[in-house]
């Protein structure tokens, strides 16, 4: 049984790659890590996975990885985006690739095409004839939120539909947060006929809130999610969504890191395409304003 530690001492390094991740009970992160882990293992590296608890200090985890002489680091922690402390710790770090922007640290970023995600959802809703549309976004501190929102809003506008600020409601990526946000959205405009949730988990909260108000999906209101989790096709109704290539993204990040470790120059940014998945949670808007019958709200002007 050879001693990889001794070999590593001689080589000044070890056949390991560090993965700095946020809590991977978040299925998206778990799948990123999985894809990366597989990819890295396929080339003879072990993955040292360190997940920093929410609110914890990633720099401690990073130092640990350095002490273990990892050859490179994969940053799979969206929370790094808003963590400015990291920048310095990364200055003289080993090769690295991140799944999100890291404040102040030059690092290659790999992700999927979030802007296009918003565009695809907008096109689908426009093609169905929706005009009163709302959206439940993730936290505004994340770029992905803004990118998806921008693609969505811009494409709607070019289709003649304006997304008013009041129908863009921020949530926190959780089902519960989205449920509450949806109630706020419906308080603002009870006549909305379509809601885009920026994640499938949030779409679950949207569906729940609509059910709580007796609004039928997709008859009275369409719902679009994002991610295409494996459960998406088994919801009631099966969820129309956008597939995000989690494992592929993780694998690509790993491949780029390995190339960087080998001394190759890698591009600063890589975007993977997304794919629209039509299921049963979207349909044409109701012919007449749905709540004008059951409530006292005025009929809709077209």
């Amino acid at each position: 049984m050879p001693n990889a530690l001794a070999r590593g001492l001689v080589h000044q390094t070890s056949p390991t790659v560090g993965i700095l991740s946020d809590d991977f009970s978040d299925v998206a992160i778990a799948r990123f890590v999985l894809g990366a882990q597989r990819s890295v293992a396929g080339e003879g590296f072990a993955a040292l996975v360190v997940s920093t608890p929410a609110g914890g200090d990633h720099t401690v985890s990073l130092r640990w990885l350095h002490e273990l002489r990892v050859r490179g680091v994969l940053l799979m922690a969206p929370s790094l985006e808003s963590d400015a402390r990291l920048a310095e710790a990364f200055r003289d770090s080993v090769p690295r690739v991140s799944l999100s922007q890291v404040a102040g640290a030059r690092t290659t970023v790999v992700g999927s095409d979030h802007r296009m995600t918003g565009v695809l959802v907008a096109e689908h809703l426009l093609s169905l004839g929706h005009e009163r549309i709302g959206t439940i976004t993730g936290g505004r501190d994340r770029r992905v939120t803004l990118s998806r929102l921008k693609g969505f809003r811009d494409r709607l506008r070019s289709g003649g539909v304006t997304l008013e600020p009041a129908v863009v409601v921020e949530a926190d990526w959780t089902s519960e947060g989205a449920r509450a946000a949806t109630h706020r959205l419906l308080d603002v405009d009870p006549e909305i006929t379509a809601i885009f949730a920026q994640s499938d988990l949030m779409a679950l909260g949207v569906l729940r809130a609509l059910a709580e108000r007796g609004i039928s999906v997709p008859r009275d209101c369409s719902v679009v999610g994002c991610d295409d989790l494996r459960i998406a096709g088994f919801l009631t109704p099966p969820l129309t969504t956008v597939r995000v290539p989690f494992e592929e993204t993780g694998a690509l990040a790993a491949q780029l890191l390995l190339r960087s470790i080998r001394g190759e120059t890698i591009s600063a940014r890589e975007l993977l395409p997304v794919r629209f998945i039509v299921r049963a949670s979207t349909a044409r808007p109701p012919p007449h304003s749905r709540r004008s019958v059951s409530s006292s709200s005025p009929a809709r002007h077209v």
Copy 2:
């Protein structure tokens, strides 16, 4: 920046613990690993996580961990149960704790009380007055499947309800597998008023199949899941289920491993309690046989 490799060479070991896991895009495994990882990090160890692809050889992963001189190994791979090749590789291995039985290898096993899970579900359904009950199980090659089934069947029997073999349908832990299994179950007995799925993901498949047949939940048929995933309360209807303490289980496994590493003697088996969570997918059975009324209406069967 100290060199942990050099220190490890001197100490003949490294401050790392290996985690051998199956594909952790399985959220249960991800949460086990997460709990363990946190626990282990809290005591100054890094976790080397190696997930072996389905059908892959865990012995390769294990050798790798040994070469890296991990102080102990956490086995979080249910697939090990049916992998007899492992036994030998584990003979002279470092301290270890597993979340499932490993054929032929003496190892401490940590888990939750699967038998009690079945008992709790049975008691709930009995208390509601159900008598025609079916169940969708996970693969029979896993002990957890048999334990849950045994607790369920035994408790039903003591309540005067017999679970015929024909209404125990095996699936593969996936939503799709459970959906197909549920159709088979309903073909056997269309009058069933309650279905216990051995995982929440499978409960999703059960709900889908029932929806496809126009059977209303919980009015016509009650559904109980197992796991209490975070989505469970946001399904339509919110799912009655049994909470399995994933993170706690992972953490306990890690704690035991660390104690074993320190030379303490640890028990061979630890069971964590589960908790029944009542939501809206269960109710009293319909007063009259439901399909005798609705049999004239076309039931959709995809």
